[in-house]
């Protein structure tokens, strides 16, 4: 009896340990996992040193990391986050050892203000000249003191061609004929952006009176909206649960590519939001040299083209365009034409108007 009692817990632990071992052995050439879970992170540093990357999921193809490792001998660790806010929380803790992060535009501004990023030594980034000047020197980081553009995209409409015909305007989201078949992002800036754009205003409007008018428009629209969803919007559209979805181009482009007969993506003629994610180095990074090498590496045309082909988002790299696959380069959902880009705006910091906007958004949502 005594033996069985002791064995119960032990045999369970043994099973789990065995599974862990199997999983560990499945993993192709990787540094040995810390045994027993006490996790001494201080492992022996490889010849080229280390680089700890903290990035969005599915934003950096494995072969690209692998080649960097082969070329430089640098041991690369890639961890992933699911929101800009998670990144902010990590860097604010002061005990996260990341050397390279990829925040979005508005978060880059916040991180810069908080002193969480360090100015880049541009002389170390040989490939900087490959970047399209249209994506440099933006409001969120003047003179690109802290950041180099990595990938970018737009916010627009995904829709069912068979049900709606051709759509080119945000007004489709306010059309009573589509009642209950409309999906909006659950994002204050993006949703107000739609309303402001249909009113012919800027996405970065700060006038409380205009914002209140936009809120009225959105309150009226709410009766038509099936759901506000920022996570699963593309799948909801693909499943046919809505006919028109407000969303980010990446996920919508993927479902459109899977069913081009039925679905389409468009940046409406009134213009939409453009977003940019940029590589940057945290103030407390330990491996600044390696991070700079990596920032330069991902802007090499061949490498950059591999990234774009792998993740299906547009980059700001000019010479890479010759090497990116035709299907992606010609996909208007990924690479919109110049006129469309010129129409789009980056989200700017609204200062005091942010409070007003948050209050109005709560009113809309709680109505």
């Amino acid at each position: 009896m005594m033996r069985t009692a002791a064995h119960r817990a032990l045999s369970l632990l043994a099973i789990v340990a065995a599974v862990t071992a199997v999983v560990a052995s499945c993993r192709p050439h990787e540094t040995a996992a810390p045994a027993g879970g006490t996790a001494a992170t201080a492992s022996v540093a490889p010849a080229g040193g280390e680089l700890h990357i903290y990035i969005w999921s599915a934003y950096l193809p494995d072969p690209v990391v692998e080649e960097f490792r082969r070329r430089t001998g640098i041991e690369v660790t890639v961890d992933v986050y699911d929101s800009n806010e998670a990144l902010l929380a990590k860097l604010q803790s002061g005990v996260a050892d990341y050397d390279l992060v990829v925040p979005s535009d508005y978060m880059l501004r916040i991180l810069g203000h908080e002193g969480l990023l360090q100015p880049l030594d541009k002389t170390r980034i040989a490939t900087l000249g490959n970047l399209d000047p249209r994506f440099l020197d933006k409001d969120f980081d003047r003179g690109n003191r802290y950041s180099v553009p990595y990938l970018w995209g737009t916010t627009g409409l995904g829709y069912d061609k068979k049900k709606l015909g051709a759509v080119d305007s945000w007004t489709a989201l306010f059309d009573a004929r589509h009642k209950g078949r409309i999906l909006m992002l659950d994002d204050v800036r993006e949703v107000f952006g739609v309303a402001l754009r249909t009113m012919g205003r800027s996405i970065n409007e700060r006038d409380p009176k205009v914002l209140a008018q936009a809120a009225e428009l959105l309150k009226k629209q709410k009766a038509l909206v099936a759901t506000y969803d920022s996570g699963d919007f593309a799948n909801v559209l693909a499943a046919g649960d809505v006919d028109v979805a407000h969303g980010y181009n990446g996920q919508l482009a993927a479902v459109v590519a899977a069913d081009p007969q039925r679905l389409a993506y468009v940046v409406p003629k009134e213009g939409g939001t453009i977003w940019m994610d940029s590589t940057a180095i945290p103030t407390k990074a330990h491996n600044v040299d390696n991070a700079l090498r990596f920032i330069s590496y991902v802007q090499e045309p061949e490498v950059n083209a591999k990234i774009v082909d792998g993740v299906h988002y547009a980059s700001a790299n000019v010479p890479a365009r010759k090497l990116i696959s035709r299907a992606i380069l010609n996909d208007k959902a990924i690479y919109p034409d110049d006129a469309t880009i010129a129409h789009c705006e980056l989200l700017e910091d609204l200062g005091d108007a942010t409070t007003v906007l948050d209050r109005l958004w709560t009113e809309v949502k709680s109505q």
Binding site: V16, V23, D79, K90
Partner: protein, 267 residues
Amino acid sequence: MSRAARLQRTLVAAHAWAVYLFLYAPILVLVLYSFNRSPRSAVWTGFTLDWYRRLIANRALLRAVENSLIVALATTAITTVAGTLVALALARFRFRGKGATQAALYLPVIVPEVVIGAALVTFFGVAHLRLSLATVIIAHVAFCLSYVALVVRARLAGFDRALEEAAADLGAGAGEVFRRVTLPLIAPGILAGALLVFTVSLDDYVVTSFVAGVGSTTLPLQIYSMLKVGVTPEVNAVSTLLLLLTVVLIAVAQRLQRPPSTLEESR
């Protein structure tokens, strides 16, 4: 009368089936779609094992699974021992601060996870502990310890101390009494606590998202972060495998707990 009884039985059975369906239908769909050829989980287009093949090649996902298992395993090992000791101390002894200890045990269960996560990351910052797999384990131990202690404590509440006294009367030393009488009797409680902790630790997202550092992305973190580009059936595949592991664990646990007859005999 018998008709009424039959009707009642039918109704109860129907109700039971409805409950089981409600609980397990989503899981079945998840398992089913891990074999779906379409990369979008919306429509069924045919059977394939491709996602399992891709899973084996997906380093990031496998690494996340490995991290999750290491953390869950370490957390379970530490909290099972420590939690059982806490429960024994509370059940057996009177000491200063006993009330406070008991109250403190409930705190991690009641306090919202966001608060625990934020508190822990601040604490690690003050203590200058670099975020890593170790901090994840420390955090999990902190909020899982209570589960074991509370479950074992409940088991001890119905414990007949006369059994221990009888063993001592018959010449067993303190250590022997513990090993041969106390431990076997509270083992189901310990096992239940351990299983609970293992599952809680395995799928924790909120606290982990605060305290994970370099190289310590766990499976829940990995899956949530994949939402930005849409969840692929690879996630369904890995979930199915973990589900299988859980089912095996529970089956083993139940088998080990079953024979009360041996308990009767060995007494």
